[in-house]
């Protein structure tokens, strides 16, 4: 158990109120999914150097990307899965206005083009998490209908926690990377995570610096075990 001193990491865990002696109802849990892409759209607007009309100062904008849905039950089913039938998030991020050049700094051009508004929608269905003592929601599967500006794509989503960046399959099974060593995982180099972009070769040097970063993914449908 954590000693008296120490810092705390974060992850989501939502429960209904009204449990024993003012605590939560552990058997009425709720899930929230926040896609990184949608989160970055909001973060971009929040960190924008000038006010964004329709966004800056609005209440609750930081929660726009959250898709929230109740679990079917407080306990896993016979296959150790916890199900959420549907989670939806949908928002329109307004236009990020153009920024004019600052006349006080003649040697720097601060001009930024306006970014057009974006409309995104995530409809998650049949979301399910594997829930056992050694996989505490760390394997996930769902169907996703993603719509951006009227264009829709359907995905089957498979996920493993924690997110581990990799180059080879060995990176995914390395001891201490946080992934349960019993999980069947492999490196998917086709994923281009904006948090860990690929490195391209520098033509000015004789060495090949190119690194194709990917993410560790489940090698089998859940439950994905060796």
């Amino acid at each position: 158990m954590r000693p008296a001193e120490g810092r705390h990491p974060r992850h989501a865990d939502l429960l209904a109120t009204g449990g024993i002696n003012g605590t939560a109802k552990f058997d009425e849990p709720t899930a929230a999914i926040r896609p990184q892409y949608a989160g970055l759209l909001v973060a971009e607007a929040m960190e924008y150097p000038v006010d964004v009309p329709g966004f800056t100062g609005e209440k609750g904008v930081e929660h726009w990307p959250n898709a929230v849905g109740d679990f079917e039950s407080g306990f896993p089913d016979g296959e150790d899965l916890c199900h959420v039938p549907e989670l939806v998030s949908s928002f329109d991020r307004p236009e990020l206005p153009a920024i004019a050049d600052d006349p006080m700094t003649p040697d720097v051009d601060e001009t930024v083009e306006a970014t057009p508004p974006v409309s995104v929608s995530y409809e998650w269905t049949d979301a399910r998490w594997l829930n056992t003592p050694d996989a505490q929601g760390t394997q996930f599967e769902a169907d996703l209908k993603f719509t951006q500006d009227g264009c829709t794509a359907e995905f089957h989503v498979v996920a493993v926690s924690p997110a581990v960046h990799c180059v080879t399959d060995e990176d995914c099974t390395a001891t201490g990377n946080g992934i349960n060593p019993d999980f069947a995982v492999e490196c998917d180099n086709s994923i281009n995570d904006p948090m860990s972009p690929d490195v391209v070769d520098d033509p000015m040097t004789p060495e090949d610096e190119a690194v194709d970063y990917g993410l560790c993914v489940l090698a089998k449908p859940i439950p994905s075990y060796e």
């Binding site: 989501a12 209904a16 002696n21």
Partner: protein
């Protein structure tokens, strides 16, 4: 002369007496067994009548021998007995007098009778044998004589004030004091099983001793260190059994008082530390106890009573003073060249005096009723309330027996609490035996109850919304920053430049001090690690200050209900058998109501820009939708059902084979009444073989194998099995309307500056649904479904020889190793935790938990007879592994089975090595004697001598998630060993027999008479920086080691310096009137 005729007859009577096996006896009572034989033929005499009389039993106990001449008289309370044997055609009788029976032992007295027509009863004084030829248990018995004559219990630590029985356990070979009691055979004190008269008094929540009964009420304390039989279970440590005094047909009583004045304390070596603006000295003011007891009869031979009351009090002086940085005439701070500490000077008129004090009352009552020969009934009741703290004083920590604070760096209302710790015990025992002694039934029903309250000093309690309980605790801890991101030296006023809080920012200067004594002023300072010349202004720097409310408050109620039935059967077949079997049921309950004053503890960030919700019971019901729990109230419980069967088989009276099996099943239930943890199938085999090569009870060689299972204390079901939901957010402390001080009026109220979402920093990443809140802990910790209970295996072997009457010399070897451990673990760096067996099941990628104890002991024991006694031992031992036990000695963390030892993958490296309890050499000698001065006067002399080689030390660093001292930079035990330490504790006393059965004794114990001030601990914090372990590293690797950021390590200037010295010389004066 009649006497000479007796001696002639005696020549033909071979009385053979031997101690056989602790195994057969109940936890506190002794058993007398033996064979009555015909001296000429050697055959057993059937139908001989054996009569046992003694002060401690009502009436007499009788038994007729069976076909092989065997008799067995169980349930004899410790004491001195006479045995008389009558047989037809064998004269008028044969009497053995002065048999001393100790708790838990089985004494064997064989009697050979000569056919004669003599008309006198033959009387022989038989010293009870000292070699226990039927037992392979190791340990120590401390009887009343030893406890009263030798100053074993030192006046410091847990149970010091009332001289509690667990403090005496330290006299056992190989045992040592630890933070929460006595460590036996390399284990930790919460692993011990504590009994009072067979009633289990372990704290159901944490495993510590819950009823620290004074030795004044005890006949004997029996410590079984290892090799014990299946009737003892649920412990991987030792079994410590306190046997209370009983009434008798005569009236006996004592009045006593003991007093240890602080004024006579020897000079204390003070551990120097980096100059803080507040320095607190802790000195004993006084410690003492007084009481009386009385035992006697209500109905002769039928109904006896015993009762007593004692009151004990501990008072410490806490003297704090303000200090400022000392400057030379040029205005530069002085640095001590030796310690590298900044020199500070005391500011006149700033001394503040506080007391830390606690009072414990103990009352005991016992009735023993024997309506007839077959039945004995006993009722025992103990009530022991304790109070400490409040009314301007600080409290005493009931778990350690020390004042609750070290340094008074905070407001009184934030640092001090008011404690109430009560223990109540009630037990009913019934013994039934049949007339011929073949069957014996013991029924025990018991209840142990504890109340532990921690309240605010103004009397407000957990859950209250007013007063100190309604005020949050705030920790201020802004640090210095004199270097820019590029390593350049910053000057005051430059961006990023920062200084620690000045004490006067947080609390007013005491009125007696010169005005402005702590006002900031510019002065020169040279950093001793970098030699950079800097400028500073804070002359009274304070690194941490706690203000507001008292933080965690609680109201805990704990219960332990127990029912036991033990059946003993005497049988014959290829020798003699003592077969014992029983069932043992326990229900424990822990109702824990706790909360933080004002809902939470705020902690300032080291850069001073925000306050974190450092501790707050709370949970999320939607993204960033936090719900605060004012007080968390869980009621958890556990059931343990077990049974055992054992046979002590005496083969031809030369070899004894003890074999048995114990089964236990423990189930722990969460606060929501669901099963949290199931630990069935605890099969503990125990096998021992004892051989008496002398065939006369004077020696033995033995070997024993045993498996021990640990009972899991309820703290696990409460914290991990039910959950301590907690959240954390960070309140902006800079700018207008910010949460700049959580103690400002209204700041902690709904909508206040420190509760409004507007001031919570956005900390979430793009993929975090919660942007303002971080989860600190949630609900239940999942448990490996194939979890196995924690267990140890042990092999003991040894030999003993009775060198002279009453004196035995022995050697023994113990090898004890942890088989499996239960711990919590996280493989994703604290995102999710689970409970399992490290190295097995779902935790198979974690290293196996290891703790291996090897000890060789040479001991001598002469019990008190002919005016003197001595008990001495030398133990050579090794203790290695990666898990100390149920608490972490390095940090004091008491979370049985869920310490931080295996928590994080990044912390696992370098954990194997010499554990904190590793002591290579340990000498202990306890001796007492009396010189007869005549005229009913005695001079009492004695003392204790202890010598111990020093323990291992470590190179520790901070961990990014877990904080200070959690990362072993080098393998465990790589540091320089601590030095040897010695203590000599003599005692002198004078006894005067005032009239028949009335004696007065005055005594003086001197603890650490030479006032040795040897180092007991050093600062093992190599650096405050975050450094990951260097796998298999050596001291040579430290020079190139870097922090997790890749920057060079800043070595803690205090590393390796002493932090704790031996207790100084103390005098304890005693007076006792006994009749």
């Amino acid at each position: 002369m009649r006497r000479s005729a007796w001696i002639t007859i005696l020549g033909a009577v071979a009385a053979q007496a031997a101690v056989v096996s602790t195994a057969q006896a109940g936890p506190s009572d002794a058993v007398l067994v033996g064979v009555v034989r015909d001296a000429s033929t050697g055959e057993g005499i059937e139908g001989a009548l054996v009569i046992v009389t003694g002060e401690k039993i009502q009436g007499e106990r009788t038994m007729t021998t069976n076909v092989s001449g065997l008799y067995r008289i169980p349930n004899l309370p410790p004491g001195t007995y006479d045995v008389t044997v009558f047989a037809k055609d064998y004269g008028a009788g044969n009497k053995r007098t002065g048999l001393q029976l100790r708790a838990g032992v089985t004494i064997r007295v064989d009697v050979s009778l000569v056919r004669s027509g003599a008309r006198e009863v033959i009387e022989v004084a038989v010293p009870a044998p000292t070699v226990d030829v039927g037992s392979s248990a190791t340990g120590l018995s401390v009887d009343r004589e030893m406890a009263q004559r030798v100053p074993i219990a030192i006046p410091t630590g847990k149970g010091a004030a009332n001289r509690s029985f667990e403090a005496i356990a330290e006299a056992t070979p190989g045992a040592r004091n630890d933070t929460y009691g006595t460590s036996i055979a390399g284990t930790t004190s919460p692993e011990n099983k504590y009994y009072v008269d067979g009633l289990s008094v372990n704290d159901p929540g944490f495993g510590l001793n819950g009823t620290g009964l004074s030795v004044e009420f005890l006949e004997e304390v029996r410590i079984e260190a290892g090799g014990y039989m299946p009737e003892h279970g649920r412990s991987t440590g030792g079994v410590i059994n306190a046997v209370t005094k009983s009434g008798s047909n005569q009236f006996h009583g004592n009045v006593w008082a003991y007093y240890t004045p602080g004024q006579l304390e020897g000079r204390r070596e003070i551990a120097r530390r980096e100059g803080d603006a507040i320095v607190t000295e802790r000195n004993l003011n006084w410690i003492g106890d007084a009481g009386f007891d009385l035992g006697g009869r209500i109905i002769k031979d039928k109904l006896w009573f015993y009762g007593g009351v004692s009151i004990a009090r501990t008072v410490y002086d806490l003297t704090s003073s303000w200090n400022r940085v000392a400057l030379d005439p040029q205005g530069n701070a002085l640095i001590d060249p030796e310690t590298k500490f900044t020199v500070t000077e005391r500011i006149a008129g700033t001394t503040q005096r506080f007391k830390a004090q606690g009072t414990t009352v103990q009352a005991i009552g016992k009735l023993t009723y024997s309506p007839n020969k077959r039945n004995t009934l006993e009722i025992l009741a103990i009530y022991a309330p304790s109070l400490s703290g409040g009314n301007g004083t600080f409290g005493m920590n009931a778990q350690t027996g020390q004042p609750e604070v070290l340094n008074l760096v905070g407001d009184y209302g934030a640092l001090a609490r008011k404690y109430r710790d009560n223990a109540t015990d009630l037990q009913f025992k019934w013994n039934w035996r049949d007339d011929d002694g073949k069957w014996n039934f013991d029924t025990i029903l018991g209840w142990h109850h504890q109340l532990n309250q921690r309240n605010a000093v103004d009397g407000t309690r957990v859950g209250d919304t007013t007063g100190l309980a309604g005020t949050p605790s705030v920790i201020y801890r802004q640090t210095n920053n004199f270097y820019g991101a590029d390593g350049s030296l910053l000057e005051p006023g430059m961006p990023g430049y920062r200084e620690v809080h000045s004490l006067t920012d947080l609390t007013p200067l005491p009125s007696g001090a010169p005005a402005g004594a702590c006002d900031p002023m510019m002065y020169g300072y040279t950093d001793p690690t970098t030699m950079d010349a800097q400028t500073r202004s804070v002359v009274c720097p304070i690194r941490q200050w706690t203000a507001g409310g008292p933080g965690l408050l609680y109201d805990r109620r704990l219960d332990r209900l127990q029912a036991r039935e033990i059946v003993t059967r005497l049988a014959r077949g290829a020798g003699h058998h003592v077969i014992k079997f029983g069932v043992d049921f326990e229900y424990t309950q822990y109702n824990s109501n706790r909360g933080y004053s004002g809902n939470q503890i705020y902690r300032e960030s080291t850069n001073g820009t925000n306050f974190a919700d450092f501790r707050m019971y709370s949970f999320l019901s939607g993204p960033d939708d936090a719900n605060v729990i004012r007080n968390l109230n869980w009621n958890v419980m556990s059931t343990t059902i077990g049974g055992f069967i054992q046979d002590s088989w005496s083969i031809m009276d030369k070899v004894t084979l003890n074999a048995g099996l114990r089964y236990d099943a423990q189930h722990l239930f969460s606060g929501d009444r669901t099963l949290a943890m199931a630990l069935p199938n605890q099969f503990s085999p125990r096998v021992g073989l004892i051989w008496d090569p002398t065939y006369s009870g004077k020696a033995k060689l033995f070997v024993n194998y045993a498996r021990f299972y640990q009972s899991v204390p309820l703290n696990l079901a409460d914290r991990a099995g039910t959950g301590e939901p907690g959240l954390q957010s960070f309140h902006n402390a800079v700018g207008p309307g910010a949460c700049s001080d959580p103690l400002a009026p209204g700041a902690n109220e709904p909508g206040g500056a420190c509760t409004t979402d507007a001031n919570r920093l956005l900390i979430g990443g793009p993929a975090d649904p919660d942007q303002r809140w971080a989860l600190a802990s949630a609900g239940k910790t999942p448990i490996d479904p194939r979890l196995k209970p924690q267990s140890s295996d042990e092999i003991v072997a040894g030999g003993e020889y009775e060198i002279i009457t009453d004196t035995r010399l022995g050697v023994q070897y113990t090898h004890r190793w942890l088989h499996r451990a239960i711990e919590d673990m996280s493989r994703d760096e604290a995102a999710t935790y689970f409970i399992g067996n490290p190295g097995y099941g779902i935790a198979k990628d974690f290293p196996k938990a290891k703790r291996v104890y090897d000890a060789a002991t040479l001991f001598i024991e002469k019990r008190f007879a002919k005016h003197w006694m001595v008990t001495g031992s030398y133990t050579l031992s090794w203790l290695r592994g990666n898990l100390a036990g149920l608490f972490r000695p390095e940090t004091g963390q008491l979370d049985p089975n869920t310490t931080s030892d295996f928590d994080l993958i990044s912390l696992l490296e370098n954990r194997s090595g010499y554990l904190p309890g590793d002591t290579r050499h340990s000498f202990k000698i306890f001796a007492a004697g009396e010189i007869v001065l005549g005229n009913g006067q005695f001079l009492r002399l004695g003392g204790a001598f202890r010598a111990r080689s020093g323990g291992p030390t470590n190179y520790l660093a901070s961990h990014v998630l877990y904080g200070f001292d959690e990362s072993f930079i080098l393998p465990r035990g790589s540091g320089q060993r601590l030095p040897w330490n010695f203590s000599i504790d003599p005692t002198i006393g004078y006894t005067k027999i005032l009239r028949k059965d009335l004696r007065l004794t005055v005594s003086m114990d001197v603890f650490n008479v030479a006032n040795f001030q040897q180092i007991l601990a050093t600062d093992e914090r190599y650096t405050f920086d975050e450094v990951n372990p260097i796998k298999g590293g050596t001291i040579g690797d430290l020079a190139n080691a870097t922090t997790t950021d890749g920057t060079p390590i800043t070595v803690n200037p205090n590393f390796g310096n002493p932090t704790l010295y031996q207790q100084p010389r103390q005098f304890r004066f005693g007076v006792r009137l006994s009749f």
